[in-house]
């Protein structure tokens, strides 16, 4: 029962933050509210026992992306242009999609259901063999780093490629390439 109230309160906070962020005209306010939104999501992940995800959400969503937005704000005007088009069709589409998503959520297995498909596939193997295979207590690390090492290698390469792309586009190559132009 208490869990229901905590989760309800957190979701209520999320909704309020989202509405204020959409309504606010100052870009700085919106950026700060986006950070707060991530922090509340991180708390929700903690209450779902997903501490690793919560950690990532707090570090990346609330911390780093807020800083990147602030750095990007220097290139933007201080206030948004107010556009007054109360688009009725967009509202209708949003309501229909929202109702469909809520309807679809009735088919989701309840949280912690042992017989849901996700707990029937490879998860039991990881849970019962991590201790014997690696001898480390954190299951998430064992799956991420060893059982699914290829996936993590791919993710690392993706991040590396993103950084390299930004470096090649915006990096300081004033020495040679400018002479060519």
């Amino acid at each position: 029962m208490i869990e229901f109230f905590i989760n309800g309160f957190l979701v209520f906070l999320l909704a309020i933050i989202a509405v204020i962020a959409i309504k606010s005209i100052k870009i700085f306010t919106t950026v700060m509210l986006a950070g707060a939104y991530s922090l509340i999501s991180a708390i929700i992940f903690v209450s779902l026992d997903a501490v690793d995800v919560a950690f990532t959400e707090a570090a990346v969503g609330a911390g780093l992306s807020t800083v990147l937005y602030i750095a990007a704000m220097k290139h933007l005007p201080k206030r948004e242009n107010i556009v007054n088009d109360n688009s009725i069709p967009a509202l209708i589409v949003c309501i229909i999609v929202g109702c469909l998503l809520i309807w679809a959520s009735f088919d989701l297995p309840t949280i912690g259901d042992v017989f849901s498909p996700i707990h029937q596939h490879v998860a039991p193997y990881y849970i019962s063999n991590t201790k014997a295979d690696m001898g480390i207590p954190n299951l998430v690390t064992s799956v991420l780093a060893s059982y699914r090492g290829y996936d993590t290698l791919g993710e690392t390469v993706v991040i590396f490629t993103a950084g390299l792309g930004v470096f090649l586009l915006l990096g300081d190559n004033s020495g040679q390439s400018n002479k060519d132009e």
């Binding site: 501490v51 690793d52 919560a54 950690f55 990532t56 570090a59 990346v60 911390g63 780093l64 800083v67 990147l68 750095a71 990007a72 220097k74 290139h75 295979d133 690696m134 001898g135 480390i136 207590p137 954190n138 998430v140 690390t141 064992s142 991420l144 780093a145 060893s146 090492g149 290829y150 993590t152 290698l153 690392t156 390469v157 991040i159 590396f160 993103a162 950084g163 390299l164 930004v166 470096f167 915006l170 990096g171 300081d172």
Partner: protein, 141 residues
């Protein structure tokens, strides 16, 4: 650069604990929540805080662009290289069990190494993203 003495002094005090916490998350990823990705982000956040307060040129002096690219490349190389070492020791790619005499120790060592690779890459990429985006002067130049 920010001239506010409170911000400057607080930043000087707080940057090193942030980086220390990043290292803690990095090397305790197999015991507690976190790991290379989160640690990389935290360490990068420490450096970004330093750049925000003391200015981009000061941050560049600390970690130059070339060093930054080297760090993020080293991460991927360390990850891939760990896999190649296990191939060299007559096992599958990224099978860490052969890295030490006991297969548990091998797994432990392998996980530490590849998590460190992930951390290096993530920290380097996040730092270079921040530096390049905030020093970008727009299309007109």
């Amino acid at each position: 650069m920010n001239r506010d003495p409170i911000l400057r002094v607080c930043t000087k005090i707080i940057v090193s604990p942030i980086i220390l916490f990043g290292l803690y998350v990095q090397f305790h990823g197999d015991y507690g929540p976190g790991g290379g990705f989160q640690a990389g982000v935290i360490v990068a956040a420490g450096f970004i805080l330093h750049s925000l307060i003391f200015g981009l040129s000061e941050g560049r002096r600390l970690v130059s662009q070339n060093l930054n690219v080297i760090i993020m490349s080293l991460g991927v190389l360390l990850y891939g290289g760990t896999g190649l070492i296990s191939v060299y020791l007559n096992s599958e790619y990224l099978n860490y069990s052969v890295l030490a005499h006991d297969h548990k120790h091998g797994q432990h060592l392998g996980i530490l190494l590849i998590e460190f690779g992930v951390g290096l890459t993530v920290a380097g990429v996040m730092l270079i993203l921040f530096h390049l985006f905030s020093s970008w002067k727009g299309e007109g130049k």
